[in-house]
Amino acid sequence: MIQGLVQLFLFQALGELLSKFALPFIPGPVLGLVLLLAFLALRGHVPASMDGVGSSILQHLGLLFIPASVGVVLYLPLLQANAWAITAALVLSVVATVAVVALVLKLFAKKDSTP
């Protein structure tokens, strides 16, 4: 388990370094993700200890963004003043996104492959 955690931290650190010195526009952890993906593709399988640690972290992914989300207390007046408009924008956007992705898949899937 510790081994898997160290490996994940290592890729995170590599990503942060790459972000700091080469690609400042892309968040470090995302570069770490891409590096890890390349590493897994080269190895051909996910090391068991990394799989265990990664799955437990991802299973409770929601827990990890609670501290930042609680910052909403600082924005309550601003959000209340714009509540309906924000809700409308979020609903429209998510409905349109689901529709566009699904329609593109339906229209082009047959040319790509059949299920």
Binding site: L8, F9, F11, Q12, I26, P27, G28, P29, V30, G32, L33, L37, A41, V46, M50, D51, S55, L58, L61, L63, L64, F65, I66, P67, A68, S69, V70, G71, V72, V73, L74, Y75, L78, L79, A81, A85, I86, A88, A89, L90, V91, L92, S93, V94, V95, A96, T97, V98, A99, V101, A102, L103, V104, L105, K106, F108, A109, D112, S113, P115
Partner: protein, 242 residues
């Protein structure tokens, strides 16, 4: 009465000075949220994160703890966000195995969906006269929250607002997605799943997994690919467009 015990205020000062209080508050609120979520048969409206955030907000309000002080304690949880982002490589890697040569069409739909998501949210919000500080928080809201918050820092948006909008989007997508997909007569599970994952990231993905395993695998892939593509493209698009 209890004259030989230290006064409550002294215990309180000691407790609130350590990160323990914020950590216990965060973890127990999350546990309570999870319990409610399980009891409701995993209804997306009973989202455990949403419940936990409301509880913690009320909690720190009641004990009069400033947000900055709460965050200082809870940052140990916050720190793991980066590690969680890195671990997203694992489900993406596993998702590639079930692709069956669909990569081209998946990427095409992802690009179309990602652009739609940003344009409709920002366009609608501006049209309705939403405060510009909030509009920026909408830019990355369809990307999975840990990555969205990283993007937020690079586009001068508030990570907090981005996280809140991302969670709201996930809940809305998980609730409304099936009606949209039914109305459009989308039947293939992989198409339904991928659309949910792209539009409603983690919350849409757990919804997809609860309906069908293939839909779940594709939703997870959609969320992961949207995360990578969003992180690569959104900061450049914002720098060029805003």
């Amino acid at each position: 009465m209890n004259n030989n015990l230290p006064p409550i205020s002294e215990i309180w000062v000691y407790l609130s000075g350590s990160p323990l209080l914020a950590l216990v508050l965060t973890l127990s609120a999350y546990l309570l949220g999870l319990t409610v979520y399980e009891r409701s048969q995993r209804n997306p409206l009973a989202n455990p994160v949403l419940i936990a955030v409301v509880l913690v907000c009320i909690g720190i309000g009641v004990i009069d703890m400033p947000y900055a002080q709460y965050f200082e304690g809870a940052q140990f949880v916050h720190f793991l966000l980066g590690t969680a982002t890195v671990s997203l490589a694992i489900p993406i890697y596993k998702g590639f195995a079930s692709l069956k040569g669909r990569m081209g069409v998946l990427l095409l739909s992802l690009l179309a969906g990602g652009i739609t998501s940003v344009l409709t949210a920002v366009g609608m919000a501006r049209w309705l006269g939403v405060d510009e500080a909030l509009v920026r928080g909408l830019v990355a809201k369809s990307v999975t929250a840990p990555i969205a918050m990283g993007i937020a820092e690079r586009v001068q948006a508030s990570p907090t607002l981005t996280a809140i909008f991302a969670v709201s989007t996930g809940i809305l997508g998980a609730v409304l997605g099936r009606y949209v997909l039914d109305a459009l007569r989308i039947k293939a599970w992989w198409q339904r799943g991928f659309a949910l994952g792209v539009a409603a990231h983690g919350i849409g993905t757990s919804r997809a997994f609860s309906v069908n395993a293939e839909a779940g695998a594709y939703a997870s892939l959609g969320m992961g690919l949207h995360g990578i593509a969003g992180a690569m493209l959104i900061p450049y698009a914002v720098a060029w467009w805003f």
